[in-house]
């Protein structure tokens, strides 16, 4: 199947997960918020968060059981940059109250101005970062 078709189907499944989360539990399916809350929220609010995150890891493992073509190459980034990237992604989503799923998919679907501004901002920052990485510092 063409990668764009798989992308559209995969995106649709992410949307379905967001709809399930809102329709059943009344929650935004934002990965960064749910994950950080698994550590910081009150004890009664932790288990569902852990299960959602665990579910993502389980769901992510299913396609590779069906076909090796779903296994991507390893990230081509030095360990130092992975650590810096991990810290900035965590800190940034924490400060900015969301990531690609919470702001990008759920927030824009609710027509939230904050999410639209956040999404445009992190996209722009991503474009600039990759430009510097690949074309200025020659990655």
């Amino acid at each position: 199947m063409h990668p764009f078709v798989l992308a559209l189907i995969g995106g649709g499944l992410v949307g379905l997960a967001a709809v399930m989360m809102m329709g059943l539990k009344g929650r935004i399916a934002g990965v960064s918020g749910i994950l950080s809350g698994a550590f910081t929220d009150s004890s009664g609010e932790r288990l569902w968060r852990i299960l959602f995150v665990l579910g993502i890891a389980i769901g992510g493992a299913i396609p590779e059981l069906i076909s090796d073509s779903f296994v991507p190459p390893a990230p081509d980034t030095s360990t130092l940059l992975v650590i810096i990237g991990g810290l900035t992604v965590g800190l940034g989503t924490g400060l900015g109250s969301g990531c690609t799923s919470g702001h990008g998919i759920c927030g824009i679907s609710r027509l939230s101005p904050r999410s639209m501004v956040a999404t445009c901002t992190f996209m722009a920052a991503g474009f600039i970062c990759v430009f510097l990485l690949k074309h200025v510092f020659g990655g």
Binding site: F4, L6, L8, I9, G10, G11, V14, G15, V19, M20, M21, L24, K25, I28, A29, V31, L35, W48, R49, L51, L54, I56, A57, G59, G60, I62, E64, V71, P72, P75, T77, G85, G86, L87, T88, V89, G90, L91, G92, T93, G94, L95, G96, S97, G104, G107, I108, S109, S112, P113, R114, V117, T121, F122, A124, G126, C129, V130, F131, K134
Partner: protein, 143 residues
């Protein structure tokens, strides 16, 4: 444990599985593809745009029907963010997040969905990302 609570936990797990499945099928666990989307000046890879389009279409329509109801099926109320101001933490956070996203090609969802490949980079990225998230609260006091 009351039955409704059990169903709620099951709903979280099921939503997570569908989410992770979508991530892995869509190619978003491939950091090359994500960086390829962000590389406007290189061989641009539009895959991520299709993922966002698919996700938004389903969510936009789904939310329209769901949010008309007084409450979700298994809980008392909807927990929808009510903040509307575009403040400094939102903008600074989004800039930092975008920069880290470009640097590695991972945002939180795909990084977790990609754990099963067992790549060292992924296994380092996820815990450092969690440390970053936990740092957000003390750092936000600066603003």
């Amino acid at each position: 444990m009351p039955l409704q609570k059990k169903y709620r936990l099951l709903a979280s797990l099921a939503s997570g599985i569908v989410f992770g499945l979508g991530m892995a099928i869509s190619g978003m666990t491939n950091t090359d593809r994500v960086q390829g989307f962000l590389d406007l000046a290189g061989a641009w890879d539009p895959t991520l745009a299709f993922v966002m389009a698919g996700g938004m279409m389903v969510t936009f329509i789904g939310y329209k029907f769901i949010l008309k109801n007084p409450a979700p099926l298994l809980a008392d109320m909807f927990h929808v963010p009510t903040k509307t101001d575009i403040d400094k933490p939102l903008l600074v956070g989004a800039i930092l997040f975008g920069a880290g996203w470009g640097l590695v090609g991972y945002c939180p969802g795909p990084a977790i969905a990609g754990i099963s490949y067992g790549y060292l980079a992924t296994l380092i990225f996820v815990p450092t990302m969690i440390i970053g998230m936990l740092l957000a609260k003390p750092v936000s006091k600066i603003f």
